[in-house]
Amino acid sequence: MRPMSSVRPTRREVLKGGTVAAGALILGAYVTLPRRAFAQAAAAPINYDPNVFLRIGDDDSVTILSKHLEMGQGVTTGLATLVAEELDAKWSTIRLEHALNNPAKYANLAFGMQGTGGSTSMANSWEQMRRVGAAARVMLTQAAALRWGVPPAEIEVEDGVVLHRPSNRKSGFGLHAAAAMALPVPTTVTLKDPKAWKYIGKRVPRVDSVAKTTGKAVFAMDFRRPGMLTAVVRRPELFGATVAHVDTAAALKVPGVVEVVQVPSGVAVLAKDTWSAMRGRDALRIRWDTTHAETRSVEEMLEDYRKALKAPGLVALRRGDAGKGLARATKTVQGEFTFPFLAHAPMEPMNAVMERTPDGVEMWGGSQLQTFDTGAAAQVLGLKPEQVTIHTLFSGGSFGRRANGASDWTAELANIVKAMKARAPVHLVWTREDDIRGGYYRPLALHQVRAGLDDTGNIIGWHHQVAAKSIMIGTPMEPFAVKDGVDNTTVEGIVDTDYALPDLTVEAFNQKTAIPVLWFRSVGNNHTAFVMETMMDELARAAGKDSVAFRQALLAKDARAVAVTKLAAESAGWGAPVPPGKGRGFAYHHSFGTRVAMVADVSLVGTEIHVERVVAAVDCGVAVNPDLVVSQVEGSVGFALSTVLRNRITLNGGRVVQGNFNDYEPTRIYEMPRVEVHIVPSTEPPSGIGEPPVPPLAPAIANAVHSLTGQRLRSLPLAPVNSSV
């Protein structure tokens, strides 16, 4: 074998013989799920084989196979950028496809299995995808050298062109592709010096913009198979209730309805079209067994949470001696904070298509945790994981909802297919009401906090209690996210705070309810950051210090944190007088490896809070595509604003009150503030951006309201504000 050499300028990267298991495993196997899938992923060497991740066509097109789900965050553009950079592909030839489910090939290196989430996509792909591109470039060079009978060192590759200057021969990639992909994958590659980047760090157009602006992008909702039936499911109004009796006679009479089957989650009506299925469902008569159902209201649940806090909780963190500090504090700030259940409400409701194949099933859906979904379908249908093929499609938003370790919608669909003996392909569709009322919410949460200051304004004790249902306990994720009973997602943002709090005690109180809960964009941070950052504001005021300077002193050991707070504050004009009638508030939070600081400017119209401007500073390491980073900050503001102003899921005797966008209203265009985004220049590897801009928004706004009215709001959504100071 001839030694491989690269024509690239040097950078001293060496391919390590790493395995997936060598990376930080955040998620792992659960015993009853197919262990094989996880074992495959865990033992597999990290895949750098271009054949796994890209295809070069005769037409010179370069199709990137994305191991990650495109749910709007731009990950397919990001992955394509990494590959195209090192491959020296021409951007306009880039195409994208989602990869099939195969944990050995397509694992998220941070998870140990195939999945997208935790804002890990760019971070875990950073090295891998660039190496894939570089390897492909080497292989193309060699193939061209072989074809043209010249030394590889004389071959140049640039902007989609393969060139042999001495003999003036050139071509696109397509000519050499087949030969190149058959060559051995090089064991060493060198990556470009950042100074040579053409795509990374620049604005390249999204690979999916054209399809999504012409009605051509195919979502699971759009996918069709011959003979396909549409299924909608009647689920109980009370979580934890089950079917006692079902009368299907009227439903079966609705034109277009074909069959009614019972599944663990309820009763499914199958019809020839979606509208007929919905009408059929309306005609079902079901009696429910509510023995184990949740029947409390939210207020009653919060009362139970308060009671629970009176006894000691599970210690998530004990550092120093908070009790002693609080005892000698000269000033104390304390409060109770509550956060409602929240529905993710992505624009595309849950739905997927499943069809039997000669040796298994195929599923088409916006699958976010492919390995779990594979396992769930296999388990329900009595198949081996290898017999389940998942075609991942564009997902119309997720915000965490499509990433369910319990694979609720996949399992439901598999159960329907099983119940009707797979005699036709099935499209399971959730309506918007199903979505808003269907659970898997951001957990209801209650915090009680006490923090004390000494007479020079130092925080000398912080006692923090959080009560919420654990997201992870009782799910396939439990082994890796729960330690000594403490679910990290309940207390993240507190236990890992950047602030120098030497005397900090954090207790978690796992609450029980039949209502299923799930991670909601930024997970625990979407409530913990609100508490931390409004407490910081109050403590700053109690200490007589500027809100930003107070925080910066506590962040002094973290230069990146200080830098991002400075950038936000300076960009927003912090410290200058705020115009009359306006309030200005600050917040900082570090989550998923990314630091974000925000300044919100608000005004009041009657009792309504108007957010006029949000200035954000972000340190996410290398911004692979700065414009995408900006879009994720803008998008996080748009997404989260309605959760600050009004969204909540409430219960009436255990029944969800809300049902559609009229009573669970998302942010509208006329409420959208101006958003300015400043990215801290960095050479650090990229960290995440899909979630980190969410946590600081709510506290920045609450702090702004306080600066305007003197009112301290400690619950979300923010209550109608008293405009009199």
Binding site: W275, M278, G606, T607, F661, N662, E665, R668, Y670, P720
Partner: protein, 211 residues
Amino acid sequence: MWSASGWLALAGGTLVLGLLLLARDASSAAPTRRDRGLSAFGTIATVVTGPRCLNCHQAERPLQGDDRHAHIPRVERGPDNLGAVGMRCTACHSLHANNETSGVPGAPAWSLAPLSMLWQGLTPAALCRALKDPARNGKRDGAALITHMASDKLVGWGWNPGQGRTPVGVPRAELVKAMKTWVAAGMPCPDEVVMNLPSDAHGRAGEGMPW
């Protein structure tokens, strides 16, 4: 605090009582034609200030529902009472009938009432004057008003408003009867009645008291 419909019932009932008392004070003899007319107006006022009517007799933005909240999504009058560009009433509302699938109500001529027919915030006396003033009621005399209440399809929607909306409580035939009584009596209007009604504690965008 009381719901908006609670206040309405109180206000409506108080109005009728107040008018009757006024009538009684004026003469202890049998009710006159004027008395009957005023009493009939009480019935008319109850109907037109109910949510099915008053929700669209608004200045800029219609209300929705029995609880009279501001219309979601946000819509506005527009230059021709039919909505802004891109958000016309007919973008969602049928000009034929209620839509059972989407739950969106519909009827012929669906729109915000002309600004001249803005009734929100009017006292009973002012409401009465507005109803009978041809400059403000679509150039209608008494007979035309009766016909309007008896046969107009959009008015008729109030009795068949679709799921989730309470139909007008007074039967249409009774309203028509009251219209005839009122018109026959010369469309008398109550004097301004001073009522110390507590302000609506909701502060909702439904603008507090129904009148």
